[in-house]
Amino acid sequence: MSDQRFIFSDVMGSDSIYKKNGRVAFYVTTGLILAFLIYYAVISTLGPSRKMAELISEFGPKVEEGQKTGERIYADSAYLSLLKEKSWLQAKTLMAQTDSIYLAINLADSTAEIEISGVIVHSAKISNYRISNILQNGDRNVIYSLFSQPLTIQNDVATIKKEPVMIKIAPKDTSEFQPDVIPDTSLVEHVNLILEVSQGLRIYIYQEESDKPAGKGSTFRFDLYDRLYYAWNALRSAVLFRVPEYQPYIKIKIPREDVKIIYRALPRNGQIAVYS
């Protein structure tokens, strides 16, 4: 009987040790996760300043030391206003010199226009837009210089195919011949698009139709996948003790049909001009 009691008390003792160890492990794990999250948040917030520093070194005005007037000119409102117009026209003129199709996003006028050689072939009304803090409030001189060059599309992600190619196998003889199926034009496709452009910028073009649950859900899922992809890359950098790359963005909302038109019209490495 006493042996049994001893065994029982021993089991109870080891059980409490396990419980204690488990609790310690829980607190340590929670602490580590919290510490990593704080570290991740801190290292991520370094991204925008680093990106701004990169842009300043590449596009910032070269003012010689001691030239006070030069510095003051670059902050003057009249000069900046002229520079903004000049950058916009410069980027558009460079694109118009080619015979290619390009996109001109004018946030001030709320328009996104497809142009070919200076001719506006399609115009879409921007109903809503959001822009990165560094593009909105960053050094004006640097931002206008950045936008004085066309932004070249390097990659794109969309909810529709760029070229909706259907494969048809030719019939062996006339008995196998079947006339083409007439396309169903009543189908509604939800269209959202991300264009990764030069200088590490991202241009999001969302459909504005979100009144129906399916449209809202489609946009939410598209946005969620993008956020997860972006966060995954940032986490990988953070684990390697590198500052995650910050990609300034421009997000616009236009009618669904216009998103489709823009996506299908722009060439793979098409160019974009932005007027902010």
Binding site: P48, S117, P171, T174, Y230, R264
Partner: protein, 267 residues
């Protein structure tokens, strides 16, 4: 003395409160069962496991929300190197400032002139292949618009896979290279392959079809034409082999408005 018989617990005390009594008994029974269940180790363990799983799921969601929503929000909230925009009257008198403003103004005017020159005052047609619509401009004014048909994006492959054709309308800037009235369609190889017919020799009479391209055709290069159609019900749909089809009235107006060399913008 006869012992007084106590009422059975299941039986009502009186006719006035039978339901009330019954409910209390049922409730007491339920509570007793619940107490037994709560004292059952298996149930407690299950509850603990469920609560651990729930806590873990909520924590994971919270971490996810922190990473994908809060951190990006935080990044956008950090102040960056901002420009303090000034409007200094003293600066305006500075010769360096005036020179800079003058240079920028000159550049702006030059760019404006250059850009305006790109927009031609001549007649041109714009074709939207996504919506299958056309827009005819004369002196920068829209004079006519309507439906057209463009490439179907069908890829035709032979069963052996040795030959393939893709039926899409080319995009970009083109010019009218030639104009024809009463055009005759010379059927290319794919027109025979598509119908399962043997490919005839290049000058075989079966290659020539009359009246299927409408009254007019305008060539834009690489064998692509803007022409009429006998399949008018398909206008507004992507059904062609790459050419642009129009109805008879629109085709006539465009044919008469555009001349050889006129621009055709397709997107």
């Amino acid at each position: 003395m006869e012992e007084e018989k106590l009422p059975d617990i299941e039986q009502p005390l009186s006719d006035e409160i039978p339901q009330f009594r019954g409910i209390i008994v049922i409730l007491a029974e339920r509570l007793r069962k619940l107490r037994n269940v709560l004292h059952n180790d298996k149930f407690i363990r299950s509850l603990k496991i469920i609560s651990i799983i729930l806590s873990a799921a909520i924590s994971a969601l919270a971490i996810l929300a922190f990473v994908i929503y809060f951190v990006p929000f935080l990044k956008e909230s950090i102040p960056v190197h901002e420009t303090v925009v000034t409007a200094d009257h003293e600066l305006m008198k500075d010769p360096l400032y005036r020179k800079e403003i003058s240079n920028t103004n000159r550049d702006l005017q030059r760019l404006n002139r250059k850009y305006t020159n790109y927009t031609s005052g001549q007649s041109y047609v714009v074709i939207n292949t996504t919506e299958n619509r056309f827009f005819l401009y004369r002196n920068k004014q829209l004079v006519r618009e309507g439906f057209c048909s463009s490439g179907s994006y069908t890829m035709l492959k032979t069963a052996e896979g040795d030959k393939k054709w893709i039926f899409k309308t080319p995009k970009g800037k083109y010019r009218i290279q030639g104009k024809t009235t009463h055009p005759v369609w010379r059927r290319p190889d794919w027109a025979f392959v598509e119908e399962g017919l043997p490919i005839p020799s290049s000058n075989d009479p079966s290659r020539y079809e009359y009246g299927v391209l409408g009254d007019y055709a305008m060539a834009i290069g690489d064998g692509y034409l803007i022409h009429g159609t006998i399949y008018k019900r398909f206008l507004g749909m992507p059904v062609t082999h790459g050419c642009v089809r129009l109805n008879d009235e629109d085709l006539e107006v465009i044919f008469n408005t555009l001349s050889v060399g006129s621009k055709v913008y397709i997107f």
